[in-house]
Symmetry: C2
Subunit: 219 residues, 2 copies
């Protein structure tokens, strides 16, 4: 792991837990065991560091989403795989940045802060959501062709709604005790599919092979 990578790792860790503005370059330097000015050898400024973190994380997330789409044909399972992928990504981030596992990171609020930092970030983040929406619209179309998703939907709005539901639930999990994406996601999937499926669709035969989870913790 290069020093540069260590800095990005430490920065992200702090950005996602205590927030961008409460993260000082001194703290990052301490975490990496270097001195503050050394950061400036690798990054032009704090803004530069924030930008790199944003791009790093979005490139990774998009890549994983693409992979999860490729392996599956069925629209229903594709949608679940997408949600699983996003949740797993958040979960991995949470495990990475927190010592205990009872807290979930909130990428969305980081994205919002990053959007304010530079137009470059703003566009990158907008592009991420746009790509996601395009994927979902195509997924909905496929489902309609196969007759398993009802025709009477506004795909543009439903696709936004699908993003809002998963993003919203992850965010809620971070601030509301009653929400817990880790235990409630299967209920969410049922509920989501229920709102999309064509009437008289046969019930789903088998569950996806979800990884098992540690119990006794919130996240």
């Amino acid at each position: 792991m290069t020093t540069r990578d260590k800095i990005i790792f430490a920065a992200l860790r702090s950005f996602l837990t205590i927030g961008v503005d409460q993260t000082s370059l001194s703290n990052i330097a301490d975490a990496v065991n270097i001195k503050k000015p050394s950061i400036y050898y690798h990054f032009k400024s704090k803004e530069d560091l924030i930008n790199q973190c944003t791009f790093n994380i979005l490139d990774d997330l998009e890549h994983r989403i693409d992979l999860s789409f490729e392996q599956i044909d069925s629209p229903r399972e594709q949608l679940e795989a997408l949600y699983e992928c996003m949740i797993e990504f958040h979960k991995n981030l949470s495990l990475m940045v927190y010592e205990n596992h009872h807290q979930i990171v909130n990428l969305t609020s980081f994205f919002q802060r990053a959007s304010l930092e530079s137009d470059q970030n703003k566009q990158r983040i907008d592009g991420y959501y746009h790509a996601l929406q395009v994927k979902l619209i195509s997924l909905l179309s496929n489902g309609q062709k196969q007759g398993i998703i009802k025709n009477a939907i506004n795909k543009e709005i439903v696709s936004i709604d699908l993003i809002a539901r998963i993003d919203g639930m992850i965010t809620l999990s971070a601030i509301y005790e009653g929400a817990n994406i880790n235990t409630q996601r299967y209920g969410l999937y049922e509920s989501v599919w229920d709102s999309l499926k064509a009437e008289h669709t046969p019930k789903k035969k088998k569950m996806l092979d979800y990884k098992s989870f540690d119990l006794g913790r919130k996240w």
Copy 2:
């Protein structure tokens, strides 16, 4: 308007636009046309000010939500009224804090930041969401009794989902160009109701009397 109120107003305006951490007491003082130390006559510290803002805004929002519930019997219209109320609240905030109307404030990210500030805030925010969930569960139960909401739902998860959908869509509107709660909300209502309604429910007869909106702007 007392000086105290002016300070809260100015603080909120800045908290919701550029963020809590990028708001300095000097800026707030300038906006209110007083000097920085005068703020300390009214508030013990910046943390105190953040707490007061949180409570102010949540008391107001909860009050409006209660009012919107009281006037209506039908679960479907009650749900729409709730969403309308939350959207209108955000819209009013947006008009208040921004000079132009193309941007939407994001309360959720403010809540997250406020949660980190003090346990007092954390509990207040959690309580807000809990009250909302309780209202929604009761709404769902009523709808089931009346035979217009299907029985095969997990009310606990669906109620969380309903909160996530509106909160998520408002948040998305703030960072993704393709999302616009102002123009897409009626589509959202349709989509939401569609996912709840018992099969063979007669179509809704009349629209609620929604206020008209200025066109040609995002928010």
